[in-house]
Symmetry: C2
Subunit: 240 residues, 2 copies
């Protein structure tokens, strides 16, 4: 007899010492799977195990295995899942919406993700599995032109005001709509949520001010989505 | 006999002394009309004439008159035209795309339009019809907490580097796609184009660096759209 579990989609993800997923890109895939209602099985990897897991074919997660399909890159995975699984709410209405969402993602990279790494690079190291820390430190310090993780993040509190200000477009939009996607969440919500879930997996410095009512309300609503799929007791505080 | 011209859609717009349209919001409507292939008749107004033209009902342009429909606000107009005119390429694929485009527009307001006003407030005054300048100065200086237009823009050259850096998300996206909308332009392109057309109507300070190849190529491609609908000899240089 066939075992249906053997055919379940597999999500290869990056985990911290406490087992929580901690990549802004993996979290995107987690939210797409939840949005589409696709059951999956998690395969945990540490920073140092990714290249070997795919015999060098992929260097980053998320990677999904869906039957004979092995696919990397969160955007490719999102479009593949939306195309391949007719079930659930469609993620995109067409090519024009995909392009506009990628444009939003360009903003997210330039203005948010880069700044987040400057705040949390050392926290990621410290939250990683002990056996992954040396690899993480060495690979990231090389990219940071020889600065140590400690030097790179030493002035992080002085960067908080600009970091918080960078979320201003989201606050402006969310003053009018419950979700970035309007009345209901869409992939723009997932992209931001995924970035913030990365933070909640590692942070020792609350990213947002306690009185940031608009973002706090949106984050709470968003954690409730998909039967609370993104909420768990290991989350570190996002708000002061 | 009916005169078909009597039924042509009318666009009320704001014009400068040289007759060129100069509102980032009116230009949005101009681009939607071009995108949908809708013929229209322009009705020119100066800053001081808008409220009286609609008996106080609207305080800003664009306003369109389409048969019995009189409608203001560029977003309302865009959605109305896309819904009412089946002809041409649809502007939006659905509610989710509209929301994501509004999210992009929130970024545009916070990071681009506000900064542009700081650079060009005095240029707008000087390019306005002489009879509109006192009204423009008085109404805008009130919003600027009593600073004069001259004081407000005195340090504008020191603001250019941050202004140019604010376009970084567009450059990142346009490194991969010919238009913000991907393979073809969409309303995200129109929103940015409209902001830049506002600048080209009034500017005495080139907004962008001469070597900004990605934005320059996109702007050129975009001016060619719709049989060159947005290009004319009165444009002031956008690039150094």
């Amino acid at each position: 007899m066939d075992d249906p579990a053997a055919h379940k989609l597999q999500l290869y993800e990056l985990v911290m010492q406490n087992g929580r997923s901690a990549s802004p890109y993996v979290w995107r895939t987690r939210y797409v799977l939840a949005h589409k209602g696709i059951a999956f099985e998690s395969v945990s990897l540490g920073f140092g195990e990714i290249a070997a897991a795919f015999a060098g074919r992929f260097k980053t997660v998320p990677v999904i295995r869906d039957g004979d399909t092995l696919l990397a890159e969160s955007w490719n995975i999102a479009e593949y899942l939306d195309r391949s699984y007719a079930q659930g709410v469609p993620l995109f209405g067409g090519a024009s919406e995909i392009a506009t969402t990628k444009l939003f993602d360009a903003w997210l990279h330039v203005e948010i993700l880069r700044r987040l790494f400057r705040l949390y690079a050392l926290d990621i190291h410290n939250a990683a599995r002990p056996e992954d820390r040396a690899y993480f430190r060495e690979s990231r310090e090389k990219r940071m032109k020889g600065r140590t993780l400690e030097e790179f993040t030493a002035d992080r509190e002085t960067r908080l005001p600009a970091m918080r200000e960078a979320f201003a477009p989201l606050r402006a939009h969310l003053a009018n709509y419950p979700f970035l996607g309007g009345a209901v969440p869409n992939y723009a919500d997932h992209l931001v949520l995924a970035a913030l879930q990365w933070v909640t997996s590692v942070s020792t410095l609350p990213l947002l001010a306690g009185d940031d009512a608009v973002l706090r309300a949106w984050f709470g609503r968003s954690l409730d989505l998909y039967d609370g799929a993104g909420r768990d007791s290991r989350m570190r505080p996002l708000f002061e």
